[in-house]
């Protein structure tokens, strides 16, 4: 990609107008950190969304409203009861990139290794897209396939509502990489609600090891409403592994990422279960 012009609109309306006018020639720019993955010499017009606002993290009823322009470093630094995305942010690429990448940028287009889609799926986040009128899409719908299909010309992702991890709930996150700064081989996030020894509800999401982030529905079905049991989870995990299409690359085999799932998902479930019982929220 080659930028032949650059615009930096100062407000949402102006940005929407520009994107509509430019159509396919426009390249919306957020943190710019994944642009090196856009290969080729195609000429595009950059529309930098950095100055249109939507860069704060605010407390709301039952959760947090995170502006799409909030940087990963802002998520990393944020502290509040029920806020867990700092843990996800902490494993994201490297600090200078965390200082640049925005939450919106990370979820507007999904590469297999993207981190936040996995966490937001588990947390049951809601994505707000500004169009002719604002639309709110639950994570399950937003992340079901490439998000591009939710956007019409001029639409801009502006906010993500992230439910807090409240009392009786727990969250755990795993990202398996060769070194700290490396593409993920497997990313797993677990949100779980607990009542005594029973798992009342759970959302378990997986990424990197599969072509697009998804929820481990077989495992969820198997554990929800049941007393926590490592055997039950292990058994469900095997059925889930058999049911999914796994990704491989020159760096790892399908068999290996399946093993990573076997190792990390139950581990994350256990951590979330413990956390829900009064440990870390």
């Amino acid at each position: 990609m080659k930028l032949i012009a650059y615009h930096r609109p100062a407000a949402l309306a102006e940005a929407r107008h520009l994107l509509r006018e430019l159509g396919a020639a426009a390249m919306p720019l957020a943190g710019c950190t994944s642009h090196s993955f856009v290969k080729g010499d195609e000429e595009r017009i950059g529309v930098d969304l950095a100055k249109i606002g939507f860069d704060t993290i605010e407390r709301a009823d039952g959760g947090f409203i995170v502006g799409a322009n909030a940087r990963v470093a802002d998520l990393q630094a944020h502290r509040a009861p029920g806020w867990v995305l700092d843990r996800v942010a902490l494993r994201f690429v490297s600090q200078p990139v965390r200082n640049m990448t925005t939450l919106g940028g990370n979820i507007a287009r999904i590469f297999p290794w993207n981190d936040f889609p996995v966490a937001l799926l588990a947390l049951n986040a809601t994505v707000t897209i500004a169009g002719e009128e604002d639309r709110q899409l639950p994570a399950d719908i937003y992340f079901d396939g490439q998000p591009a299909r939710h956007f019409k010309a001029g639409d801009i992702l502006i906010r993500v509502f992230v439910p807090d991890v409240g009392a009786g709930c727990g969250f755990a996150y795993r990202k398996d990489t060769l070194v700290s700064m490396a593409f993920s081989r497997l990313t797993a996030a677990v949100w779980l609600q607990r009542e005594g020894k029973t798992i009342r509800d759970a959302r378990i999401a997986l990424g990197a090891a599969v072509p697009l982030p998804l929820r481990l529905e077989l495992v969820e079905e198997a554990v929800v409403g049941k007393v926590y049991s490592a055997e039950l989870i292990a058994d469900a995990m095997e059925r889930q592994i058999a049911a999914l299409r796994w990704r491989s690359s020159d760096a790892f085999s399908e068999e290996y990422v399946q093993q990573l799932a076997r190792a990390h998902v139950p581990d994350a479930l256990e951590e979330a279960f413990r956390a829900a019982g009064g440990g870390r929220k």
Partner: protein, 153 residues
Amino acid sequence: MNIAFTLNGKPQELTISPNEKLTEALRRLGVYSVKTGCNEGACGSCVVNVNGRAVKSCLMYAAQVDGGCVETVEFIGSLDNPHPIQSALVEEGAVQCGFCMGGLIMSAKAVFDKNPSPTDEELAIHLDGHLCRCTGYEKIQSALRKVSSGAAS
């Protein structure tokens, strides 16, 4: 297109192409501490501080700093009056080839500007965008530990 920004404390105007990355623009201005080691955001030799945050200038378009404030290692200390981070690195023998250091120091400075006494772990997290092949980071860590504890001059 033309941009105007603050470069190392002074107003700077520059004509750029929209596709020009900040690394190239800064080197064109003679800011040679900004190095290219990979041009894909992995090595950290190009890190500069933009509006107080350490960023990879090879990933950033020069256009994005219009109206902003850019600082590089040239600004923070000199031969006669080095920044405490620079002094500590020199005293600890942490500078081998030095190619990665301009960027690494800017990341370190961004940490210390916010928190004068970060822990080893906080420092490692904030410097995880930098590759150094010479030192094994051991002496860099001990130098920054000195700055953190106030032992550096």
